[in-house]
């Protein structure tokens, strides 16, 4: 099982000091946080993508490429890459280059984006978000799998004789996750293609996540990618820890109360009861996280949000120390207990290369990645 962090990339005033980082400070802090994630032996760093203030990650592969150069092991991902407003050709190019630069330490989580005004900035319309997603993703898959692509669709100029350069590393595209906050369409899309399904798991109650994950698992099986238990599931999560749980609650409360998205709403206690947010001791985080398996099944990826709402960098780094030293080692061990052998790990570049080599020996296997160009 993989553990990591995902960031929204918000520039938010620290409500306890009134200090607001500059965009430069926030971007530098993000790099520091990603490097720290590797240092404390987490597996993944994922960045969001936003095209409006107060967010800074508008160019995720630039950020991830910079981080790739300063890390050795860390898997770089996104949360999410906008499949609607980005040109699929550019996504294919950017992530192919990132694959080559990082030695295959990259996968991608696709999302629609729910900020209406962003769509027209990129020549699109949020009302067509779903058919746009289906068309763009259909093209992206072909760009990563076919050497020469002839394509025409409704939302992009046609392609005649287009060849992606560079081709995916080792002829294997990055593994794709589909990130979902609310809608069943995303679960269906992920299941249809046999891709991973990532439930945001921050903004909604566990009952909702349970329904979505169950749906994805059923449909994954329906489309013939394996049994429901073998579907590739990721979950978000949100934690704040101190050795003493009362200290964690007292320290996090002003950040919670003023947080973008849900601040000035329910109390911290209500929100903790209604969503997977866990504020307390490392042991409480361990217990809560292990309970996710009760409704999501044996899953493959757990990402935590730790750096939002104006939390200062120093605090975030302390959170990563606690995650890396006290929480994740226990989670790794405990999640292995009782995990059926037929439940796979999340695909990595290495495992996909191995699978592709195996498939190359078989005739007519669907979706076999094309041979790399000589």
């Amino acid at each position: 099982m993989q553990f990591g962090i995902f960031t929204v990339g918000d520039v938010t005033t620290d409500p306890t000091t009134g200090a607001t980082p500059s965009e430069a400070e926030r971007i530098r802090a993000t790099v520091t946080i990603a490097k720290k994630a590797e240092e404390v032996e987490l597996d993944i760093f994922a960045t969001g993508e936003h095209h409006n203030p107060p967010f800074v990650p508008s160019s995720p592969t630039t950020l991830l490429g910079y981080i790739a150069a300063q890390t050795e092991r860390l898997l770089l991902s996104t949360s999410t890459t906008l499949i609607t407003t980005n040109d699929p050709v550019k996504i294919a190019e950017d992530f192919s280059v990132l694959q080559h630069l990082s030695g295959g330490r990259v996968d991608v989580m696709l999302g629609r984006g729910n900020t209406g005004p962003v769509y027209p900035w990129f020549g699109q319309d949020i009302r067509a978000a779903i058919p746009l997603t289906v068309e763009h993703y259909g093209l992206l898959r072909r760009l990563w799998r076919e050497e020469v692509v002839d394509w025409s669709g409704k939302y992009r100029t046609p392609l005649q004789g287009f060849t992606l350069a560079p081709q995916p590393l080792d002829g294997v595209p990055p593994f794709v996750w589909h990130g979902s906050i609310r809608t069943p369409e995303v679960a269906e899309l992920a299941a249809y293609h046999g891709d991973g399904f990532f439930a945001n798991h921050i903004f909604w109650p566990p009952s909702h996540t349970k329904r979505m994950v169950q749906l994805y698992r059923q449909r994954f099986e329906h489309y013939g990618h394996g049994s429901a238990e073998q579907a590739i599931v990721g979950l978000g999560g949100q934690v704040f820890m101190r050795p003493n749980s009362q200290d964690a609650v007292a320290e996090f409360r002003p950040y919670f109360d003023n947080a973008p998205v849900y601040g000035h709403g329910p109390s911290l206690e209500d929100f903790m009861a209604q969503t997977p947010l866990t504020v307390g001791s490392p042991q409480q985080v361990i217990d809560r996280t292990l309970s996710f398996r009760e409704y999501a099944g044996d899953y493959q990826r757990q990402l935590f949000l730790v750096d939002h709402a104006g939390l200062p960098l120093k605090t975030v780094l302390e959170q990563l120390d606690l995650l890396g030293e006290e929480v994740v080692p226990v989670l790794r061990k405990e999640f292995r207990v009782g995990r059926p052998v037929h439940v796979p790990d999340a695909p990595t570049h290495e495992s996909l290369v191995q699978a592709a080599n195996t498939e190359d020996g078989e005739e007519g296997v669907h979706n076999t990645p094309k041979e790399q160009q000589p």
């Binding site: 289906v134 898959r141 609310r182 269906e188 899309l189 709403g265």
Partner: protein
């Protein structure tokens, strides 16, 4: 069995809005009984849900109490919605409940609209505020609503008039409920899923190599 959901936006205890709601429910049940139609009713009081309604606006999800209220409404065969008139419209709390009610909860739902107010001069709140909102939500709004002013609850002659108006509205609503019959709930979750399934089958399924999306 006809399931009635009664939404009362009254704020005080006792509330004239709830009082009107109760009288309407009794009259509707009586009118249904004359048609040999049995009915049950469940009341959704908005005041205790006030914080939850605003929290839902801020977070995007409802707590379990509000979810339960949503379920009561969506599962009903008919809705009786009663609000106090504030500033020439429904109360903000009343509107807010419908702002967070999941989409399509009221589609094809027979609805009887009613309101209370300080004076009868606000009675067009039914026609200018409630009816358009419920029409927008694709409800089937009964032609006769009930408006009750403070005077209706006081003066003798006023009470008699209100009783008649309630009886008339209840009889109309009972006929509407009878005509509509048991309501088939829309399942938006499954609808979205089916649409996506069809979209995927058409767009990227085997045999369609060019990846076109049908217009």
């Amino acid at each position: 069995m006809t399931k009635l959901a009664v939404i009362s936006g009254g704020l005080r205890e006792p509330s004239s809005t709830r009082l009107l709601a109760d009288r309407i429910v009794a009259a509707v049940e009586s009118a249904l009984a004359q048609k040999a139609m049995a009915a049950t009713s469940a009341v959704v009081e908005l005041r205790p849900l006030g914080h939850a309604i605003i929290d839902t606006m801020l977070t995007g999800f409802a707590n379990s109490e509000l979810e339960s209220a949503f379920e009561t409404v969506a599962d009903a065969d008919g809705v009786i919605a009663v609000t106090p008139a504030f500033n020439a419209s429904f109360s903000g709390l009343f509107k807010s409940f419908f702002d967070v009610l999941p989409a399509e909860s009221l589609s094809e739902m027979p609805v009887l609209i009613a309101a209370t107010g300080g004076t009868e001069r606000h009675s067009l709140v039914l026609e200018h505020a409630l009816r358009p909102m419920f029409s927008y939500l694709h409800a089937i709004v009964a032609p006769t609503g009930v408006y009750a002013a403070t005077e209706d609850f006081g003066a003798q002659h006023g009470s008699v008039g209100l009783t008649e108006r309630i009886s008339k509205a209840a009889a109309d609503f009972a006929r509407l409920l009878q005509a509509c019959g048991p309501r088939a709930r829309r399942d938006v979750f499954t609808e979205e899923l089916t649409e996506m399934e069809q979209l995927l089958a058409g767009a990227t399924g085997p045999g369609n190599e060019d990846g076109n999306v049908e217009d």
